[in-house]
């Protein structure tokens, strides 16, 4: 356990709660398996000692900010999580003065399932180059220098290189397992629509039938609705009970957004999102 990080977070949390600067701290506590972590909502100072930070704190806590938008909260944010805060600010879903961000210089999160940890870093962390959060109100841990970039889209490129038939059967096999539990949607800070298109009945885009065609429809549009917004925290893939490789969908769009619009999501709270703006003279290969 990163002792230093946990101590600093607890002290800042106690200070914020006792001074009533915030109504609650959204952080992490030990889960019921005694190994992994789970989100904690600390309302009173004596809850503060449950707060922890270590390499199992995988959840993107900014997911809870829209639910708590009517109160003032502090959240513990890893670099990717804080980019999701920027996304919510850029999309006017939360007010900056009602969110106190305790940024954490991230040691990287390990792969874990309930009751089991292994020491391999999660795929997103192996690719991660920004260990210091781009935005925070208080920083925990020593900022580290940027590491040399690594090819972040090798798995996407691999799938792109395959033939159409191979890709068709690959995705058909993945989507066939989907049980439409929507854990991927509910785990995502970017999915805050009051009524999701997949549950709309009038018009009924998808409907309630769970079948290959409907599952394909769901996954295409879910991923596309996050194009230029997703910050690749991979919580959707981690929440999926049947291991559908959702990050392969999200990061394909992330790669294309980078190439087409030279844009990365969540780096600033004032950013204009790529599909909500344009450049008159840009050439994008459509209809040319």
């Amino acid at each position: 356990m990163q002792e230093g990080l946990t101590q600093q977070i607890r002290e800042k949390a106690r200070e914020l709660l006792t001074s009533a600067a915030v109504d609650c701290i959204i952080g992490y506590e030990r889960a019921s398996d005694g190994l992994t972590a789970r989100p904690l909502f600390a309302y009173e100072p004596n809850d503060v000692d449950k707060l922890i930070f270590d390499q199992t704190c995988t959840h993107n806590l900014s997911r809870f900010l829209v639910d708590k938008r009517d109160s003032t909260v502090a959240i513990v944010a890893k670099p990717c999580d804080s980019r999701a805060v920027n996304l919510l600010l850029a999309e006017k879903q939360i007010q900056r003065e009602r969110v106190y961000v305790i940024g954490v210089v991230c040691p990287g999160i390990v792969e874990a399932t309930w009751g089991q940890i292994n020491d391999r870093l999660q795929a997103r962390c192996q690719l991660c180059r920004e260990h210091t959060p781009p935005m925070y109100d208080f920083l925990v841990g020593e900022p580290t220098a940027e590491e040399p970039p690594v090819e972040p889209y090798h798995d996407v490129a691999e799938l792109e290189a395959k033939s159409v038939a191979e890709r068709q059967s690959f995705w058909a096999e993945q989507f066939a397992r989907c049980i439409r539990c929507y854990a991927c949607r509910q785990a995502c800070p970017g999915c805050y629509c009051t009524e999701c298109f997949v549950e709309q009945l009038d018009p009924q885009w998808v409907g309630i039938r769970v079948a290959p065609a409907e599952n394909e429809f769901w996954h295409i549009i879910r991923a596309f609705h996050l194009a230029g917004r997703c910050i690749a925290c991979n919580e959707c893939e981690r929440a999926c009970p049947v291991n559908i490789p959702l990050s392969l969908l999200n990061r394909k769009l992330e790669k294309d957004v980078l190439e087409l619009f030279a844009f990365r999501s969540g780096l600033s709270a004032e950013a204009l999102l790529p599909l909500a703006t344009f450049k008159k003279e840009e050439r994008l290969g459509m209809g040319e």
């Binding site: 799938l159 792109e160 159409v164 038939a165 890709r167 068709q168 059967s169 690959f170 995705w171 058909a172 298109f197 885009w205 065609a213 409907e214 394909e216 429809f217 295409i220 549009i221 991923a223 596309f224 194009a227 230029g228 969908l249 394909k252 769009l253 294309d256 957004v257 087409l260 619009f261 790529p274 599909l275 344009f278 450049k279 008159k280 840009e282 994008l284 290969g285 459509m286 209809g287």
Partner: protein, 136 residues
């Protein structure tokens, strides 16, 4: 080429250019294949990816979005958003196994009846070569 296979195309034509171009083709006796089912939209910017995917899911073999040339949009910037949106959706569909030839975005002005007719003919031919998207 499968014997007797007629590809189904869903065409979202923007009212001011695409649709007007198709109209012009009609009034000037320029024929184009009947494979296209035309859906008129106020602007190509109105075409939501939901409409494109729903068309494919309901059995379309090809989807066409025809709007005004960039800079000539009746609503000034509608087709700029269309251009970005589908520049992103197009490779994404390819990535998911919907061949890129099945989804086309074209700029057809109200005076380009000929271009519209050639566009629909070439699209139909290409889809006929490709075969149905889903085994019937």
């Amino acid at each position: 080429m499968i014997e007797g296979y007629q590809p189904k195309i869903i065409g979202f034509l923007c009212n001011w250019c695409g649709y007007a171009g198709a109209d012009l083709a009609g009034t000037s006796r320029i024929t184009y294949p009947a494979n296209i089912r035309v859906i008129r939209v106020p602007c190509s910017g109105r075409v939501d990816p939901l409409l494109v995917i729903k068309s494919f899911q309901q059995g379309a073999d090809g989807v066409l979005v025809a709007g005004c040339h960039p800079g000539e949009c009746h609503y000034v910037e509608g087709n700029y958003y269309t251009r970005r949106r589908f520049a992103l959706l197009h490779p994404f569909l390819e990535y998911l196994g919907i061949e890129k030839q099945r989804f086309r975005v074209e700029w057809v002005s109200a005076s380009e009846g000929k271009k519209f007719s050639q566009l629909v003919s070439s699209f139909t031919e290409e889809l006929a070569k490709l075969g149905p998207r889903r085994e019937a």
